[in-house]
């Protein structure tokens, strides 16, 4: 056992010597490899942190939202239906939600306007999200003009800027009173955007949803579990797509690695010939090649994962920012709760180290089977 260990360590010694002999080539290989690991790992860590954030933040979202559909599009929901739905056994409460979008031509940004169920703020005053405050420069006490449906300007007083740490849910929010909301959009009385339904027992939600659809076939109930699942699948999908895009980079790199491993120079052939003639066996040379690859991939993997973590959680994934921002004007600034686990590292290992290792098996073997007597000829 100790002999086996000693053999591995001896061979690692020589593998390091031979890697260091071709410094420029191997350091460039390591650099490219590390870069690929960094990109894939950043992407995975970022996506995973967002998923966890969504799950943590949305755990108190409405149990169910019921929308009315007309010709495949959302339509205004008669508030009266809320009473019918409230009568369904198992429903604890129904509230009409009033919310919509407002396009601000000056800043070219979309705001989300919403009415708080609690009756706050009072008519004439609003709360604004911190990203809006940052974008427009309005702060507490200022009067903010909003264009009504008639094109007139309506001045509303900012009484509160929503806390910056809640930006991930409230960056673009303007919270206003029901009266102002209806005046602004000429929103008909007796109608709401949709209904939020809460159930006493979450187990009953499916039954309640079935009853609502049965009673009002033109409605669409969306359960909280579906909202959360939407985020899971969006992020999984996006993460997967980014990984697929970078798979091309991985592929290119693997071709490069294959080429490096199989394109034995005359010098390398001579060296392996020498090793074999002085008593290295094919399996020893294979082990040497394995360790050369393992040293590079292990180092690249560990450094890449570390750098990726720092990139995502210390520098807020600044390399991705532009890709994620798209053409939105309002972009929330948030710090994600850091998370890293063995599962993600295993996936990363599979996506980077395993293909690299597979690509070097056959070339390594080819170089290991140089004839031992070749150095005598």
């Amino acid at each position: 056992m100790s002999g086996l260990l000693a053999r591995h360590r001896n061979i690692i010694d020589f593998a390091l010597s031979s890697l260091l002999r071709r410094k420029a080539k191997n350091i460039s290989l390591l650099a490219v490899y590390t870069l690929i690991v960094i990109i894939i790992a950043s992407c995975m860590l970022f996506i995973n942190a967002l998923k966890q954030e969504a799950a943590a933040v949305l755990k108190d979202a409405p149990d169910m939202v019921v929308q009315k559909m007309v010709a495949g599009r959302h339509d205004l929901m008669p508030v009266s239906r809320g009473e019918v739905i409230g009568g369904i056994t198992g429903v604890r409460g129904v509230t009409a939600r009033l919310w919509g979008y407002y396009y601000d031509a000056v800043t070219r940004a979309n705001y989300t306007l919403t009415v708080s169920d609690g009756g706050q703020p009072a008519p004439g005053s609003i709360y604004i999200g911190s990203a809006i405050a940052r974008l427009t420069g309005f702060s507490q006490g200022d009067l903010m003009p909003l264009r009504t449906y008639k094109g007139e300007s309506k001045l509303l007083q900012v009484v509160r800027v929503l806390p910056a740490e809640a930006e991930i849910v409230s960056a673009d929010l303007i919270v206003l009173s029901e009266k102002d909301f209806r005046e602004l959009f000429n929103f008909p009385a007796g109608f709401a955007t949709d209904l939020a339904v809460s159930a006493g027992n979450p187990l009953e939600l499916a039954t309640i949803a079935a009853k609502i659809v049965h009673q009002f076939p033109d409605t669409r109930p969306i359960m909280k579990s579906e909202m959360l699942r939407t985020y899971d699948s969006i992020f999984d999908w996006r993460g997967g797509m980014i990984v697929v895009m970078f798979a091309v980079a991985v592929l290119a790199f693997i071709i490069f690695a294959w080429d490096k491993a199989s394109g034995l120079s005359a010098e390398e052939r001579r060296e392996i010939g020498i090793l074999k003639s002085i008593g290295w066996e094919t399996a020893d040379v294979l082990l040497l090649k394995f360790w050369e690859g393992a040293i590079i991939s292990l180092t690249a993997f560990l450094c890449g994962a570390t750098v990726a973590y720092c990139h995502v959680f210390f520098f807020s994934a600044s390399l991705f920012e532009h890709a994620l921002k798209g053409w939105a004007v309002l972009y929330p600034q948030f710090r994600l709760a850091p998370s890293i686990n063995a599962y993600q590292l295993t996936i990363l290992f599979f996506l980077t180290v395993v293909p690299y290792t597979a690509a070097t098996i056959i070339p390594s073997w080819r170089s290991a089977t140089v004839d031992p007597d070749s150095s005598m000829r």
């Binding site: 933040v57 708080s116 991930i168 849910v169 969306i222 450094c303 720092c310 709760a337 998370s339 686990n341």
Partner: protein
């Protein structure tokens, strides 16, 4: 010192660094509980359903409230939201400048 020892030390150092980061993540998760509670409070109070990640279109602002044909809703030039939707900006309409 033997080269293999140096390599083993560097690898151990890297692993330790990774473990340290895992510890940092655990700590950071605890620190994030307060802001997350603030967020959850606003979500509960305003009955919000979505994260505010992409504000460019309603199907990206409220993905869980959108429907199957959502990509067609916002403007005639809007393409599917991925991948072009997040890369291509919408055409400028004349009424916007007014």
């Amino acid at each position: 010192m033997r080269k293999s020892n140096i390599f083993i030390l560097i690898t151990c150092f890297n692993l330790a660094l990774l473990l340290l980061l895992a510890a940092h993540a655990r700590l950071g998760k605890q620190n994030a509980e307060v802001p997350q509670a603030v967020c959850a409070g606003i979500v509960k109070e305003l009955q919000l359903t979505d994260l505010c990640l992409f504000t460019e279109a309603r199907y990206t602002r409220h993905p869980s409230m959108a429907d199957f044909h959502a990509p067609f809703q916002d403007h005639p030039g809007a393409l599917d939201h991925f991948p072009s939707g997040s890369l291509v900006s919408p055409p400028r309409f004349s009424h916007e400048g007014l």
